[in-house]
């Protein structure tokens, strides 16, 4: 009997909890669902923003991967371009004549009409012709067929970026100009081939001629200098701190210092470079060498931190085994630990270099945003870099530079994706589980 009463009393005792839980459960679960939906919303927001970012840049940038060209039959008139006058000559007039063939109503003596006509062609067209004739003077007196880039407004028109139904006064080209261009189109003289000039040309004031060669070369030199400095220095410092340094105040100080350096704003490194490298040491402005030096100082903490992590990941048993057979500490570290840690170190280095490749602010301060129309031949020449070129173009008012900027960003992102892919590949291929 006692069992039954205690059973009852126990049930009575426990009911409140079960009851309370049952009553509140749906409310509590709703709260949890709310929390989860906030989380999902946050993730969707972040991913949506990335999607919009990439989408807008791709949709504006892909236009720049083609370039409108005009196909011309040019009679290289010996009267305008005498062989003994090279490299001077009336190249522009020759091009105008080649255009005028197709527009019988236009009188080339009328300077305004002539300018309107040649404005379809890029300002660089005459130099393309000049270079061709200079390299082969026998062309004088012949008719050659020449494909030259169209100027930016017509390039935009051809790509459909100029709305033909906007009122004329809001357009950069008037109805007559559109009619002339359409005539060329009807004649089959307009084409839109792949824009190789985007990679093979250096910068230019004219969007249709501007390319990334100078920036690519500048970034290459800067990154090379950055790698050559930061890689050995970073590894050396990391090995010392991880394997050799006594644990005392000085190594603590170095450690704190490195962690802080990794978080110093990049623009401050620019100020350092400007004051010390350029101001005090008198190194040249705008040089990729100085840029690489600055980037190296910024990349070093990243490499040190990655290297230390990779060294730490090598299990002590390897060290003990090598020490046990009588190897010195140096032999253990350089002969066994370092090779095993190398994949991790390389991964960290590539990621650090990828960051350096996208770094802009310090390069602006040392003048790597100069307007330079030829690619650097050494790291001491003036140059731009990819990110600073993006900055310059983003600042330019011409419409054509909007899509060039996006295209340059796509090129930059392509390099970054490649570098990160290599890093991920290295990590997955050589990663060891101890």
């Amino acid at each position: 009997m006692t069992d039954i009463t205690s059973e009852d009393s126990r049930k009575a005792l426990c009911n409140p909890t079960t009851e309370a839980v049952r009553n509140s459960l749906s409310r509590r679960n709703r709260k949890q669902v709310l929390l989860q939906s906030f989380g999902i919303a946050a993730i969707l927001f972040a991913m949506g923003m990335l999607f919009i970012l990439l989408g807008s840049i791709i949709s504006s940038g892909y236009h720049a991967f083609t370039q409108t060209h005009i196909q011309l039959e040019v009679y290289v008139d010996p009267e305008e371009i005498p062989a003994d006058g090279l490299p001077r000559g009336g190249f522009n007039d020759v091009l105008a004549a080649a255009m005028a063939v197709h527009f019988p109503g236009i009188d080339l003596a009328d300077r305004v009409a002539k300018r309107e006509l040649t404005s379809i062609l890029s300002n660089g067209a005459q130099f393309i012709l000049r270079d061709k004739v200079v390299s082969d003077p026998s062309l004088i007196g012949q008719t050659i067929s020449l494909s030259v880039p169209a100027s930016d407004p017509y390039d935009q028109l051809n790509k459909g970026l100029v709305e033909r139904d906007t009122p004329e006064q809001f357009r950069r080209i008037d109805d007559a100009a559109i009619a002339r261009f359409d005539r060329l189109k009807e004649l089959g003289m307009v084409s839109a081939p792949l824009n190789t000039a985007l990679i093979t040309n250096a910068d230019s004031r004219f969007p249709e001629l501007a390319g990334l060669k100078g920036a690519l070369v500048g970034s290459f030199w800067a990154l090379l200098v950055c790698f050559l400095i930061s890689f050995p220095l970073g590894i050396g410092a990391a090995i010392y701190l991880e394997e050799f340094a006594p644990k005392n105040r000085y190594s603590d100080l170095i450690e704190i210092n490195i962690n802080n350096l990794a978080a110093v704003p990049s623009v401050v490194f620019g100020l350092l470079a400007l004051a010390v490298f350029i101001g005090w040491f008198g190194l040249p402005r705008s040089a990729p060498f100085v840029g690489g030096l600055t980037l190296a100082l910024m990349t070093m903490p990243t490499i040190i931190i990655a290297t230390r992590a990779a060294l730490k990941a090598v299990p002590p048993s390897i060290r003990e085994a090598a020490l046990g057979v009588g190897a010195s500490k140096h032999q253990v570290v350089f002969g066994h630990v370092l090779p095993l840690a190398m994949p991790g170190i390389l991964t960290g280095t590539i990621i650090g270099l990828a960051q350096a490749l996208g770094e802009t602010a310090p390069l602006l301060l040392i003048g790597m945003n100069a307007f330079i129309t030829s690619a650097a031949t050494s790291p001491f020449d003036s140059a731009t870099a990819l990110p600073t070129q993006i900055f310059i173009w983003a600042d330019s008012p011409e419409r054509g530079f909007v899509s060039r900027t996006s295209a340059a960003i796509l090129v930059l992102l392509m390099f970054l994706v490649t570098m990160n892919a290599v890093a991920i590949f290295l990590r997955s291929k050589f990663e060891r589980k101890w």
Binding site: N29, K31, L35, Q36, F38, G39, I40, A42, I43, A46, M47, L53, S56, I57, P232, L233, G236, A237, Y240, L241, F244, L253, I256, N257, N259, N260, L261, V264, P265, S266, V267, V268, F269, G270, L271, L272, A275, V276, F281, G282, L283, L297, M300, S328, H330, A354, T360, A361, L364, L365, S378, F380, P387, I390, F391, A394, V402, T405, I409, L413
Partner: protein
């Protein structure tokens, strides 16, 4: 020409290595027992040659340019530089260098052509001198290293001592970087404060650094009250954090506790992509998409919005900071021991309650550390604000107004020609000093919190 000293160095290293190995072998085959293996004798020679000679070559090359330039400029005919400002003198130097490089524009004066010839001559002389010095030095060092080879010579210890010092040097470079930053900023900032009173800079409400370029105008015409600039940075950073902190935290909470592994495996790399996008790209995104969108939205509800608002710059910066905060918060949540999760669940807490009442509070120190680092990033971030924020300093906290920021001013003051005797240039360094101090304090504090927090649960 630049490559020649390096080639000599490489040859010397190989020769030294080979000679010492040969010598060591000879000793061993002579019947003596070597203390160190042969290749340590070789390495000893190699390091002994390369380290000093390479140092010499690098210093030489780094300084050659400015020394040669100095010589050329001081050899110019007297009178041509009289009455010119430092900027114009720099331009003349650049012109002479470009003539020497074969790029001639227009018809330069004769003395410039002569100077360019002299420049080429000096460069050539310096090059030959360097080659000679490097060759002699390498030979000397090779002989010295060779003379050390002996049966009882501790070549291994020698090699290890040299490498140890090389590594210490590498570690110290990090210190030098900090020292360099502090020295450069302090030096230029002090020069600035000699011209503009500290109190005006720190408390002045008017920032108009458009300093006259001509010498006869008075420098004091520009105003250097930095408060509106600081305020602009604070407004933009606040907007950024108001977006990044909630989105980042909710992302981390969801990924850490609720998301299926498959979603986590997709979302985490995508967030890493977001974190890897260079800031200049975010800046362009701000002016291409976000600013026009905000403007259009403002117009549609009848509010006039500036084209370079704090909202656009801060908003895009916030997007940039989302992965930063979410990964820090995710790490902090993961660092909370499993036993606390189990304890809460075993009491009958729902996973949501467990997260909000136990995990999240326990992770707060780590999360706060991460947010502080994000704050330091936000105030130090440059490209987004340079491209998307304004140039004019205004005393306003309205995010729909155009405001400027510390980093914007640093970049705009320093872009283009700079000379170090202009308060405009120096003002940038003073701003940089403020930025450095602020971020340093926040970083030290944040890193300490994060480190303490890790120790609690390790």
């Amino acid at each position: 020409m630049t490559a020649v000293p390096f080639i000599i160095l490489l040859l010397a290293a190989i020769v030294g290595y080979a000679i010492n190995i040969q010598a060591a072998r000879a000793i061993r085959s002579g019947g003596d027992r070597l203390h160190s293996l042969e290749h340590f004798h070789g390495l000893f020679s190699l390091l002994l040659v390369v380290v000093p000679a390479l140092t010499l070559v690098l210093i030489w090359l780094a300084l050659q340019g400015s020394i040669v330039d100095g010589l050329v400029m001081s050899s110019l005919p007297s009178g041509v530089l009289d009455g010119l400002g430092s900027g114009q003198i720099q331009l003349i130097g650049a012109e002479i260098r470009s003539i020497a490089g074969g790029r001639i524009f227009g018809t330069p004066e004769n003395w410039k052509l002569e100077a360019a010839d002299r420049l080429l001559g000096y460069r050539q002389a310096s090059g030959w001198l360097l080659v000679t010095v490097v060759t002699l030095m390498s030979l000397g060092l090779i002989f010295f290293a060779r003379s050390k080879v002996a049966a009882e010579f501790r070549a291994r210890q020698g090699v290890e001592r040299i490498t140890l010092w090389l590594m210490i040097f590498c570690a110290v470079v990090a210190i030098f970087t900090t020292v360099g930053i502090v020295a450069a900023l302090t030096f230029e900032t002090l020069k600035f404060f000699q011209r503009v009173p500290v109190t005006e800079f720190l408390f002045g409400l008017n920032w108009e650094p458009q300093i006259p370029i001509r010498e006869d105008q008075i420098a004091a015409e520009g105003a250097f009250g930095a408060v509106p600039v600081f305020l602009g940075t604070i407004v933009i950073a606040t907007v950024a954090l108001l977006i990044a902190v909630p989105v980042g935290l909710f992302t981390a909470i969801y990924l850490n506790e609720f998301s299926p592994t498959s979603i986590r495996n997709v979302v985490k790399p995508i967030l890493e992509i977001l974190a890897g996008v260079p800031t200049v790209v975010y800046g362009f995104f701000a002016i291409l998409v976000v600013a026009p969108a905000i403007r259009q939205f403002g117009q549609s509800i009848g509010v006039e919005v500036a084209s370079n608002t704090a909202l656009a710059a801060g908003g895009v910066m916030g997007i940039m900071l989302i992965p930063f905060i979410s990964s820090f918060a995710d790490d902090a949540l993961s660092a909370v021991p499993r036993s606390l999760r189990d304890g809460a669940l075993a009491l009958g807490a729902t996973r949501g309650e467990m997260m909000l009442n136990v995990l999240f509070p326990a992770a707060i120190p780590g999360i706060v550390g991460g947010i502080l680092l994000a704050v330091s990033r936000a105030i130090g971030e440059t490209m987004i604000v340079v491209m998307a924020a304004g140039l004019i300093a205004r005393m306003t906290i309205n995010p729909l107004d155009s405001v400027t920021a510390v980093t914007v001013q640093i970049v705009t003051l320093l872009i283009g020609d700079t000379s170090f005797d202009n308060p405009k240039t120096l003002a940038a360094f003073a701003l940089g000093m403020m930025l450095f101090i602020a971020t340093l304090v926040i970083n030290v504090f944040a890193l300490r919190i994060v480190r303490k927090y890790r120790e609690i649960y390790d």
